[in-house]
């Protein structure tokens, strides 16, 4: 059976999440620039101390989650735009999701090891 099906009934949340996570990432980037200008990256010790700060840990965790969430919506959009095979799309959606969850875990591990 090859009837065209639309009407999955979602989309708004992802679209909104992409905007919100974009703002979070932009804000974090500005904070990082400000920190770099303020000398937080002048030496390894200064950098380590800066990243060990509770607020920065909180923000960098938010950044990583935002990055992965943002990338999930964006990369899935690319698959949906260009691929016609539903089987291939499903496969790539799952692979993208697994890769992003893996990256998020890895990144968090790196930050929390500091």
């Amino acid at each position: 059976m090859n009837r065209l099906v639309v009407g999955a009934g979602y989309g708004l949340k992802d679209w909104l999440a992409q905007r919100v996570t974009g703002v979070v990432m932009a804000a974090f980037t500005l904070i990082m620039f400000a920190a770099a200008l303020g000398g937080a990256m002048s030496s390894r010790e200064a950098w380590q101390a800066f990243m060990a700060n509770g607020l920065i840990r909180f923000l960098s965790f938010l950044f990583i989650v935002s990055l992965c969430w943002h990338a999930w919506v964006g990369v899935r959009d690319i698959w949906m735009d260009y691929l016609n095979s539903a089987a291939l799309r499903l496969f790539l959606h799952v692979m993208t999701l697994l890769a992003l969850v893996g990256y998020a875990g890895w990144a968090i591990q790196i930050i929390w090891r500091l």
Partner: protein, 240 residues
Amino acid sequence: MTNANRTVQFKIYRYDPDQDAKPYMQDITVELESTDRKLLDAMVKLKAQDDSISFRRSCREGVCGSDAMNINGKNGLACLTAMDSFPEGKPIVLRPLPGLPVIRDLIVDMTQFFKQYNSIKPYLINNDPPPERERLQSPEDREELNGLYECILCACCSTSCPSFWWNPDKFVGPAGLLAAYRFIADTRDQATAERLDDLEDPYRLFRCHTIMNCVDVCPKGLNPTKAIGKIKEMMVRRAV
């Protein structure tokens, strides 16, 4: 390029499926008079010269939307495109609207486009018994429909939209979404929730990536991207 008679070169996409194995570009020169001010005037001359060239046209004043085509790489209406807007000495390149199946030369099959338009139910849904004269609106409510109702369905926007090229069967496209918002914004319409439900879909609405080619090409100066933004805004307002 003003008053005197002049010769203009054209490069025209030609394809007759009964005769041609594949499409080709034809070079053709036409003698114009000072009264041939719009591209459509020149094309009528072209047609007189070689009557095998096929294109649609009707009202010749930007109302019917029949003569939409790809003019020097940009979609537009031949009847609204001034001949003196073209750089002198370069051939004018005419192709059919991109992304739709070509029937012949500059004539495309608009079935997919109108299917998407029909899918948004482009008519007022109101189950109240009709009043004796008309359903009234306040001037402010009516104001909201400006910039929406003027669409002539020429398909310049949808056929310039990459999202529509990739998913013409599933993405409503800028023209359809502009029309959808025209009814969502109409205070006399009672199916707002159903209309929003219908568009809450990763393909139907959310294939729009705000590329804005639609705004760039609309011969009526309309802004489908803004209308799409307003649909999303309404969805957010009802969800939070």
